[in-house]
Symmetry: C2
Subunit: 494 residues, 2 copies
């Protein structure tokens, strides 16, 4: 038991040390710069002072920091700039990726103490309690038993993906030719492949913002500039978009037309047509991210941007991470015939192919109707949770808050009154046991945001109600508190 | 049945069309350039003329080619250059990746007609007949049944990889800190991540050649120059290496010290020390590719380059693709502490993480000893097959052929007499039902090669004997034939 009690603390020290190490390595903390006090690090990370001290000791042993008289712990001279730690210089890609990761990690809120957790409204992933585990296990076992031969799914497959899976995906989505489907290692890889297909280092990509935050690091790590197009209510400013599209270095326009992350907004057919009209006047391709496309529980499905694009220059990225299991890491791209070859070539040299075993199991799972049966259950559960959230928001949020009920997806977006700051509310809520995601995370410019994303997928209607009740209280408290004396708007390191 | 007979032919036409489409798209076939005749395309692809004609018809419908009077089928004006097909320009990465893929695909030999196949000595992958399927299935099912909760292996995990898997890998390989292990989507991703960590576009990487051919496309698609260091007998020319390491744009040295692909050579301890001495005089990191490191069936294991590198600047890439199942797409990197953060950041934005489900199953499989039990069986089977190959080579190969018995790994490398051409022998062998891989595939400069790689992993000792008997006959026939009147040394398109 004693050992058990020690291990997590040691892990915490390692984790804290790793955070600082990465920041030093990435040049975010420079030589001679002071680290926060042991006390404040312990407080922010929710650990004992001894643990924080251990973290500093690790860094000291690695020669990254040193104790000074009068100035506390500072970054060691030789540790500061990227590449200066007894090592070779890192590539621009590596430094950019580290900075992007640090930048995201530096944002509030704190993680709530899991013992005191009332509701996790932060994690955007499906509820494991609903997972159709037995049905999927049966598919995996069947595919495994059939794999003991050359060409079986435990051997090498093909870069494009399992032929059977591509065929059923093409059928489900009305794609005439399965050759237009490329299986990817999640939507994340799909997005990276599409960006790399069009944009070289120094080029630019227009992005409707706020948006999926992991996109920032993809662009940065490939030396591609992100040009934000403001879409405060989920609808991109078309005049701004038209202007940006005229830039000669502009290579791609990224947009999430359905159940947008984080705002939940779905563009209707007219909005989609207007958007495509603007882009179709150029030869800039569209990257249509349909990460939650299967999660509609109300309303009817508008045409996809790919269907509306007369040029056939829209590439659609989809994934099984939200519609089934994130742990599969299987997504897929629907591309115009002429664009499959470059996407596939880039995929080949990135990871050869995605797991043939999981693809084959997924194929059987879809073919035998298990996916559709699960989606029926999942959509119903989401509808109930969105209902609960809507009721709770009406009951508990102070006047001046706005939200819109989405027709699908895992989350709802709440806008606080004009004088509120989502970062501070989110931090306050985390301390009270409710995790939500403040809007600034989704803005590449990190502007102050009034928005909070509430993920509803892994919480019961009862927990949604309790969580939103606490959230409403936090908004009220935050407005009463003197902002200057409040929790502070400086990004927290941990 | 009639439908069944038609489908593959249509598939063949699509496949042939795709090949030409990619070559046109990549700029390998230019506007106005003539395509081969229907007859020769049919012959080379081993399909009927009608099928070849269908392929041309597909290309014509797409506007990529046009029929001309007197000149046959030519590439259409508007189709030629990359990006000119009613579309946006492709990135440099995409064009480079397509060219690299085409370049490899354009090499001999033809695929043998599978009906006439005597022995597949080409595919470098483990034998599915030996796969420990039930033991692995049990692990997957157990892990799946345990995954219906938050934090389970069907949800999101962590970019670094499953903590338990990293711990057992660290233990097996004597790595003090599991934090130094990063799980990757196969060795292919491991290699790409290490290259991207150090080399920016315009930089250079030194590579001991011949070498793993998928490396060429990785470097090309990231705009990184490959600087070949000749290692004809598997041992890099250290003077040449020392010279190249002085280049200011040189960022990394890539080498496979154990069971090298394609030569099978393992560097002994002295050779490793000499190699590390040369590199350690600089700050250029070493990428040590240990893709078959677990497959030793004779001799003892020399120290790894990572152990010998006094700078701690060697990163080792390993994989379960050869030691277990390629279909998992799970590999891993052992990196010095300071280099984990950039590798992890690049991995994050590439695909978030590798499948937590498969990682958890693999962890259990290793922990309960199933991997070690399987490796005992696999190593013994490989030893038998290498014995059979050695006997067959002695019995059937003409004088002047050389080979060396490796102490492990899936393949053996045979050098033909000085006047023989491995491409032509490989093509002749394929027509006689034996697939082998000629050395030119592994040379980034595509120089003529006397070497043939014979993969022994998926063939019985009897098939190895029959295959090598035919191969020996092909070598003799090829030397008798007038090379000018022979099968031709021009790369075949298909």
């Amino acid at each position: 038991m004693a050992e058990h009690a020690t291990a997590p603390q040691q892990g915490s020290a390692q984790r804290i040390a790793a955070r600082f190490r990465e920041r030093i390595r990435a040049g975010l903390l420079r030589a001679g710069e002071r680290l926060p006090t042991i006390r404040s690090v312990a407080q922010e990370a929710g650990v004992t002072r001894a643990t924080a001290q251990n973290a500093f000791r690790i860094l000291q042993q690695e020669g990254l920091v040193e104790s000074t008289v009068g100035r506390g712990t500072v970054v060691a001279e030789r540790a500061a700039a990227p590449g200066s730690i007894a090592g070779p210089p890192l590539s621009r890609a590596a430094v950019a990726a580290m900075l992007a990761l640090q930048d995201g990690a530096a944002l509030p809120p704190l993680s709530a103490d899991t013992d005191a957790l009332v509701a996790d409204l932060a994690g955007l992933q499906p509820d494991p309690a609903l997972f159709p585990i037995e049905a999927f296990a049966a598919c995996v076992v069947r595919v495994l038993r059939d794999s003991g031969r050359i060409g079986g799914s435990l051997g090498y497959g093909s870069t494009a993906g399992d032929a059977g899976l591509r065929e059923v995906l093409a059928q489900r989505h009305g794609i005439g030719d399965p050759e237009r489907v490329l299986v990817t290692s999640g939507a994340q890889q799909g997005i990276e492949l599409v960006i790399r297909t069009f944009a070289s280092p120094g080029d630019a990509v227009a992005v409707s913002v706020p948006t999926y935050h992991q996109l920032f690091g993809v662009l940065a790590s490939h030396g591609v500039e992100l040009v934000p197009i403001d879409a405060p209510d989920g609808v991109a400013d078309l005049d701004a978009l038209a202007r940006v599209l005229r830039r000669p270095d502009l290579r791609l326009f990224y947009v999430m037309p359905s159940f947008h992350n984080p705002t939940g907004v779905t563009l209707d057919a007219a909005q989609r047509r207007a958007l495509v009209d603007v882009v179709a006047a150029t030869d800039v391709p569209i990257l249509e991210d349909e990460f939650e496309g299967e999660l509609r529980f109300a309303g009817s499905e508008p045409p996809s941007l790919a269907e509306l694009d007369p040029r056939r220059l829209t590439i659609t990225v989809r994934t099984f991470s939200k519609a089934l299991f994130p742990g599969l890491r299987i997504g897929w791209i629907e591309a115009p015939q002429e664009l499959v070859a470059p996407l596939r070539a880039l995929k080949r040299f990135s990871d050869l192919e995605s797991s043939p075993l999981l693809q084959a199991a997924l194929r059987d799972f879809v073919v035998e109707g298990a996916l559709d049966r699960y989606l029926t259950v999942l959509r119903e559960a989401l509808r109930e949770r969105h209902d609960a959230a809507d009721r709770a928001l009406r009951a508990h949020m102070p006047a001046g808050c706005r939200w819109r009920r989405p027709d699908g997806g895992l989350s709802i977006w709440v806008e606080l009154p004009p004088d509120a700051d989502a970062d501070r509310v989110a931090t306050r809520a985390a301390l009270a046991g409710v995790q939500v995601t403040p809007g600034r995370l989704f803005d590449p410019l990190r502007r102050p945001s009034r928005g909070l994303r509430l993920a509803l997928s892994r919480v019961t209607p009862a927990a949604i109600d309790s969580g939103i009740e606490i959230l409403g209280r936090c908004v009220r408290e935050e407005r009463l508190a003197d902002p200057a004396a409040g929790l502070g708007s400086t990004p927290l390191i941990l």
